[in-house]
Symmetry: C2
Subunit: 211 residues, 2 copies
């Protein structure tokens, strides 16, 4: 029913739990394409090359920028993050839906290129919870924590740039909401107008030639 | 997060399976309000007063019309169908979501009064399947079948008046799609703008007063 894949962008403030939710999406919707970002930041404990990220040097990343190989990229807290363009384009042209998990700067860039994408803003249930989560990572200095928490609170301002907001209270519930949003968008009349107009023509033909 | 309930209208051509799907929604989403229509048509086998419909005489129904007690009403194949207004208004004002299962004429009336409602068009997987379903009811004469089938095919034209289309191939899948649409709408930024703007103000306050 869908002519082309749906581009779903999962974004939101730092510490909302984008990575955790995205990882939990995979078993819930294995038929989707999951874009893997490139980054120059150091791997956190347990992160695997080609699964969580493609880890790059600054030189490699800057080469990718020059070669136009990135759908979006940003420098966040001194590290580069970016989305390889080719995977996304291939999946979408084959009619497969693709999920991107990216920060807000990146999402705004993607929105310019894919205004028909589905933009989901993941938020923590409260600022208190956000504080706990950022500290829980154990990878923050006092300085970097203050920077990250302050930004996260300010980043809430970007809600209005998005189509949907999902509160990440429980991961499985957030996953269910995102899955719901994807199914709903796939059922939306505005996304399928061409297909339905064909169906209407057939319907009318049948109705006329009924006897 | 929602200030007021969501009005969900499940509609579509005759024979799409609206009644069956609506009945299956109840255990899937017991927290919703399910509006029960009034009708002057004869009960089909197994239909129960106050569960499937409130069965009325033509005199009773016409009295309800005169008293403005109906949100919408229509005469379809010689029978009146209508939605009692009070139940819907009460549920919505209490912040409860309400599902209406109504024909296309009725849905278009509701859309004028509740343009913010969610309008779902349920369709059979094919015209062949539609034919089988209408005949399967066993309540049709040849004449009424031709009338119903011809109308159903023409009714497909109304797709563009709706927000979503759900193909009723398997009932449980149709229910899952409708549930997804409801959850997605509840997460939509446009429906929660007021709430989020409040959240943003708080967020900014916290960010400023962080140290």
């Amino acid at each position: 029913m869908i002519q082309k894949g749906l581009l779903v962008v999962l974004s939101g403030p730092s510490g909302a739990g984008k990575g955790t939710v995205c990882k939990a999406m995979l078993p819930a919707m294995p038929e989707m394409g999951y874009s893997i970002s490139c980054t120059t930041r150091q791997p956190r404990q347990g992160e695997v090359e080609g699964v969580n990220y493609f880890f790059k040097t600054r030189e490699q990343f800057e080469q990718m920028i020059r070669n136009d190989e990135l759908l979006e990229w940003a420098e966040v807290y001194g590290n580069y993050y970016g989305t390889p363009l080719r995977y996304v384009e291939e999946q979408l042209s084959e009619g497969r839906n693709v999920l991107l998990e990216i920060d807000i700067q990146g999402a705004l860039q993607v929105k310019k290129k894919y205004p028909n994408g589905v933009f989901i803003f993941l938020i923590p249930p409260s600022l208190e919870e956000l504080k706990k989560r950022i500290l829980g990572r154990g990878s923050e200095t006092e300085e970097s924590f203050k920077l990250r928490f302050g930004s996260a609170a300010e980043e809430m301002n970007y809600i209005n740039e998005y189509d949907y907001v999902v509160v990440n209270d429980k991961v499985e519930q957030a996953v269910d909401r995102i899955r719901s949003i994807i199914y709903a968008e796939l059922c939306s009349v505005k996304r399928n107008r061409e297909y339905y107009n064909k169906l209407i023509q057939e319907g009318t033909k049948h109705a006329v030639s009924f006897d």
